[in-house]
């Protein structure tokens, strides 16, 4: 990983979990849903109840990697007038109150529109750790590579079950902080089981030299967290948290986070591969 001489907030957060003998928990929330204040409150609740990293999504008009629950939330946020610049308020609101690393998950066009350098500067100022970019591959990321180096931000690219060995290597090399392993071929949304493909993707990323690999898509229960924590440095939960926020507000996010975090530590019968 291209992180030797740069401090990575995401890597530091994952390493703190690792020092406690467990994997890291990463929780996703869409900015501005149901309001900017609620996103901040829910983010703080996440951090105080077991999440090590927080992923704040920017609502976008064309979220091709998101399933219905997250689409509904981000569509509502946009309908209520969410503006992209408010994501920096959310990031600052959470980082000022917690030690969690806060990343922004965004489709690429809103960043292009603001200007990659300008967006990066403001994210760094807000205390953000970096970006997760679901529709930006390293091949197209020259501008982001430069800006993330300039402002010391993590660049979390995705790898998938369909990634070839060559693409896996290229993506691992381009990433900083961690590598986001997509567990299944599909979009976000809770699923009853995590596919076996996830374990293979994580192994391939490790083989390509990734020190920190986190698994997302379809993870919604403590049992699934436990299953993934056995082989990955981090577990990402999105849709389940958004549904909890929708149905039960910040209290429900707090309760679900507590429950999910019980799956992070290895138990008898489960092994970790050197975490």
């Amino acid at each position: 990983m291209n992180s030797a001489e740069m401090t990575s907030k995401s890597a530091a957060a994952i390493d703190r979990a690792r020092a406690q003998g467990r994997s890291a928990l990463i929780g996703y929330l869409p900015a501005g849903y149901p309001s900017v204040e609620d996103t901040i409150a829910a983010g703080i609740a996440l951090a105080e109840n077991g999440a090590d990293l927080i992923e704040i999504g920017i609502p976008y008009s064309d979220p091709v990697m998101d399933g219905q629950v997250i689409q509904a939330a981000t569509t509502e946020a946009l309908a209520k007038g969410f503006h992209v610049k408010q994501v920096f308020d959310v990031v600052a609101g959470i980082t000022s109150k917690t030690d969690a690393a806060v990343l922004v998950m965004t489709y690429w066009n809103p960043v292009v529109r603001m200007g990659v350098d300008e967006f990066s500067r403001r994210l760094a100022e807000a205390g953000g750790a970096g970006l997760i970019t679901p529709d930006l591959i390293p091949d197209e990321a020259a501008e982001w590579m430069a800006a993330s180096d300039k402002y010391g931000l993590d660049r979390v690219f995705l790898v998938a079950p369909s990634s070839t060995a060559e693409r896996m290597q290229r993506t691992v090399d381009a990433s900083r902080g961690f590598v986001y392993a997509v567990s299944i071929m599909g979009v976000t949304g809770a699923r009853t089981s995590v596919s076996t493909a996830a374990k293979d993707v994580v192994a391939a990323a490790h083989d390509a030299g990734a020190e920190r690999v986190c698994v997302g898509l379809g993870v919604s229960t403590a049992d699934q967290v436990r299953e993934i924590a056995a082989y990955a440095e981090g577990v990402i939960v999105g849709t389940a948290l958004v549904a909890a926020l929708r149905d039960g507000g910040v209290d429900a996010v707090e309760a679900l986070t507590k429950d999910l975090s019980t799956g992070l530590a290895p138990e008898a019968g489960h092994t970790t591969d050197g975490a």
């Binding site: 976008y60 008009s61 064309d62 979220p63 091709v64 990697m65 399933g67 219905q68 689409q71 569509t75 946009l78 503006h83 992209v84 690429w108 066009n109 809103p110 960043v111 292009v112 529109r113 603001m114 679901p134 529709d135 930006l136 591959i137 091949d139 197209e140 690219f157 995705l158 790898v159 998938a160 079950p161 369909s162 990634s163 070839t164 693409r167 993506t171 997509v182 071929m185 599909g186 979009v187």
Partner: protein, 439 residues
């Protein structure tokens, strides 16, 4: 040129674009600073596979023979090049020729692309195709190709469009396709593309996404153009044969831009030929209710490509508006963005009203009911003809314009009847048209 676009190069001359050599057969992934692959990593392997399969097929005589055979014996190619003598009188008195893509099987140029891509799907061993559609034309064409080649077909279509175009939904189902109404986002064509992409991510192992226009991630823009290049090749040969010379101008309508890039391609390297793309100006570009992506958009990334894009200050896609469902798309193919920037092609908006006047004019002067999409090109040709005539009045009757008549207007009769107030107020068609107008 009252509604000429601003901010883009206007020097439609040889020197500016031919210095660097040929503009034909641009392979992608980039067209100048446009194009690329702004896509989830999950789909990159499928795009690689498609590119490789396409590149091999292009060089395979068997594949080319298959396409040629289908074009001739199934689609009915070559399509005619018809001189529109009575229509021409309204275009400054220049000579207007129509490239008759409306005469193809399924009634538009769309068949060229779907046959090519469906054959590629078979080559890749895929058993299922998915497609997006606005009014239903690409959906019908995709369902047709799937039926012909024995593939499963699923078409994503905005829920409102499904209701407005109930007959096209029935047509797709008659052909064996499954139509899924799209209720996400703005429930329009762009959201149908989003849902098709979501389907593709989940089913990429057995599914090919048969994108309907020359947009999207590489290799789609170059590949879709390749399958439509036959339009321009034929038109160029036909005008040389019929008139012994090249046209002075070529006109086409632009939504995503597939019919346009197909006919433009034949003439890109002919410096004497001016090329015009006509975007949907909707209610007028000053109203904000339009689909004039190149004229008024800004570069951004959507659906896999960097290109001009209708977007707000936050980079959120703005909903487009046009009386023509086929042009009602807030993006545009990346090669068009490039051809605009370098000044090789001029892009101008045509309002709904201008398009519908040209629609009626062609009906009444030539006995041809055009698609409302194509009527935008006809309206543009009237303006171009009048300009050519004004520049050189003595030789106006010698000037030649080729218009790509990309589709026939049978599908648009309800919309046109409502526009021209031809329906009995109590008729069912009147209700459909009225509700359509509200969107």
């Amino acid at each position: 040129m009252a509604d000429a676009p601003s901010g883009h190069a206007e020097n439609n001359t040889a020197e500016a674009f031919l210095q660097g050599g040929s503009l034909r057969h641009a392979p992608g992934p980039y067209f100048g600073g446009y194009g690329g692959r702004w896509m989830p990593e999950s789909l990159i392997a499928a795009l690689d596979e498609l590119e490789e399969t396409f590149n091999k097929a292009k060089d395979d005589p068997d594949f080319r023979a298959q396409i040629a055979d289908l074009n001739k014996n199934y689609s009915g190619r070559p399509s005619l090049l018809t001189e529109a003598k009575r229509f021409s009188q309204h275009a400054g008195g220049v000579r207007v020729f129509l490239k008759r893509e409306d005469l193809n099987h399924t009634g538009s140029h769309k068949i060229n692309n779907v046959l090519g891509q469906a054959l590629l799907a078979k080559r890749m061993g895929k058993t299922r195709i998915i497609a997006e559609t606005g009014a239903g034309q690409h959906g019908v064409a995709s369902a047709t190709a799937a039926a012909l080649l024995g593939l499963d077909c699923v078409v994503y279509m905005g829920a409102e469009d499904c209701r407005r175009q109930a007959l096209n939904v029935a047509r797709m189902e008659l052909l064996g396709a499954k139509v899924i109404p799209v209720t996400s986002g703005s429930q329009t064509l762009k959201d149908a593309i989003n849902d098709a992409l979501r389907d593709w991510v989940a089913n990429v192992a057995n599914t090919h996404y048969l994108l309907g226009t020359a947009a999207g991630a590489h290799p789609f823009p170059a590949m879709v153009r390749y399958f439509h290049e036959v339009i321009g090749e034929e038109a160029r040969a036909q005008i040389l044969e019929q008139e012994g010379r090249l046209p002075d101008a070529v006109c086409a309508c632009i939504g995503g831009g597939s019919n346009a890039i197909g006919i433009f391609h034949g003439f890109l390297d002919d410096p004497s030929v001016k090329i015009y793309g006509f975007e949907a100006g909707g209610d007028g570009v000053e109203t904000g209710r339009h689909a004039a992506t190149i004229s008024l958009g800004k570069p951004g990334v959507l659906h896999g490509a960097r290109s001009y894009l209708m977007q707000d200050d936050d980079g959120q896609t703005i909903e487009s508006h046009s009386i023509s469902a086929g042009l009602d798309y807030p993006g545009v193919g990346p090669e068009h963005s490039y051809l605009s920037d370098i000044g090789r092609v001029s892009y101008e908006p045509i309002t709904d009203t201008e398009a519908m006047e040209a629609f009626r004019l062609l009906c009444r002067t030539e006995g041809i009911i055009p698609a409302i999409e194509s009527a935008h090109a006809l309206a543009g040709a009237i303006k171009v003809g009048q300009r050519l005539a004004a520049e050189d009045p003595a030789n106006a009757a010698e000037k030649i314009i080729i218009v790509n008549l990309s589709g026939r207007g049978d599908k648009d009769v309800a919309t046109a009847a409502e526009w021209f107030d031809l329906l009995d107020k109590d008729s069912a068609e009147s209700e459909i048209g009225k509700e359509g107008e509200q969107l």
